[in-house]
Symmetry: C2
Subunit: 254 residues, 2 copies
């Protein structure tokens, strides 16, 4: 008998941002797989097995879970944010395509979740209020030249940019290069939003003009939004500024 695999997005981190659909799917699983820090967010249930693995073990984790599912178990893999946005869903699909035929017979269900940038955006107003791109700055799995080409294309076409995986110990200079590239293409006053640990201990959100954006303000867990030339910053007495992308755009919008 073939089992099933659910790939579940846990949202940005606060339990109130986990959908009821995700909570139910977590409870229903016989075995949970995932990066240890994400598994820790899931309430314990007696009788449910847990297989924690290190970060960046996506493909082997997916394979281990598919093996269990193919053997008849009801398995869940957890991701932070949305499983489909730089999460485990693509790794599971890749494993299914490249793995043994038995894995193709496993019933797959992806349970969507709030991806980080939606939570960061909500904290400052509506910086994604118009067309935007979501881009990983990591060059672990793609060449840096491609990252630069995508940054340039998106900024020149007037998209707001959401940057995931902006910096890490192994990738220390890339974010500074990205800011430099964007500075050549966008006004110095373009708002840049840094957001991390939204809804969790250590939440940090800041808004600065592009000319003052400092890569040192980000770490692995930061999600960064870089506005377009059309983005607006609204100052409010006694309240933090709002950042939003106007709903209307003109041909001169960059």
């Amino acid at each position: 008998m073939t089992g099933s695999i659910a790939v579940i997005g846990l949202g940005p981190g606060h339990p109130d941002q986990v959908t009821p659909e995700a909570s139910r799917a977590l409870t229903a699983a016989d075995e949970l797989f995932g990066y240890g820090l994400y598994l820790e967010r899931v309430p314990e249930r007696p009788g449910q097995l847990r297989h924690a693995s290190d970060n960046r073990q996506e493909l082997s984790r997916a394979g281990a879970a598919l093996d269990r599912a193919a053997a008849g178990t009801s398995v869940a893999i957890v991701s932070g944010g949305d499983a489909g946005v730089f999460g485990m869903a693509a790794a599971v699909c890749e494993a299914i395509e490249e793995g043994p035929p038995a894995w193709r017979a496993v019933e797959l269900r992806v349970v969507p979740g709030l991806t980080a940038v939606l939570a960061v955006a909500a904290r400052v107003g509506a910086p994604l209020g118009h067309d935007f791109c979501v881009l990983s700055l990591s060059d672990n799995l793609k060449p840096w030249t491609l990252v630069e080409r995508r940054l340039a294309a998106a900024a020149e076409a007037g998209f707001v940019l959401a940057l995931y995986n902006p910096i890490s110990r192994a990738r220390p200079w890339q974010l500074g290069r990205a800011f430099a590239l964007l500075t050549e293409r966008l006004p110095a006053t373009t708002p840049v939003v840094f957001g991390s640990h939204i809804g969790r201990t250590g939440e940090h959100v800041s808004v600065v003009p592009l000319a003052e954006a400092d890569p040192a303000a980000a770490d692995m867990s930061t999600c960064i939004i870089v506005g377009s030339a059309a983005s607006r910053t609204v100052w409010r007495p006694g309240l933090p500024p709002l950042v939003y992308a106007p709903r209307a755009a003109s041909e001169t919008s960059r």
Copy 2:
């Protein structure tokens, strides 16, 4: 005394995809504002006033809600999906920037929600598994030439595309033009996903190659995902195909 305004994303439509944070914020409000079809999704609470308005009345709806909040009321405005992605949050920010000073003193809270494309993507695998753009095809508030420029830039740089507001009675030809433009830039086999009413009565999801993508398969409520040249389709015996974007990309990825 100044009140507050919460702008709340209701998710794609299924009650299990409304976050607990959104449910709580809905219950806490004294008065609800929103497009009638979205308000109908919110459970009734005795004593809570409701102000339903037509679609496309975003700015006047935002102003009416801000007036009540400035008068001391605890107000909520609802949006489908995420309020920050082609929803009410940008309209509220715009109203605050352009309105009377009293509106700037109102406490604003945006409660994020699952935006439609995450729910559509989850149904077919992980089509957003790598860099992607989110783009409204509506030329009500921007010139069509700008839409075309953004489509071309995104496709040429290898982004997967998520298209919102693809078609309506007033905009009958734009989606066909978009498919034609993308056909010139992407392989004929590029997977295209049509998704509508996810998690609700009348849910419809289909996957076709770009060469066979038919604008007539979409309506106002459809969200469309157009893959990149790197996107993969995985055929499974007895199960629907999976679509995913590989996590790795090369410089030749278009």
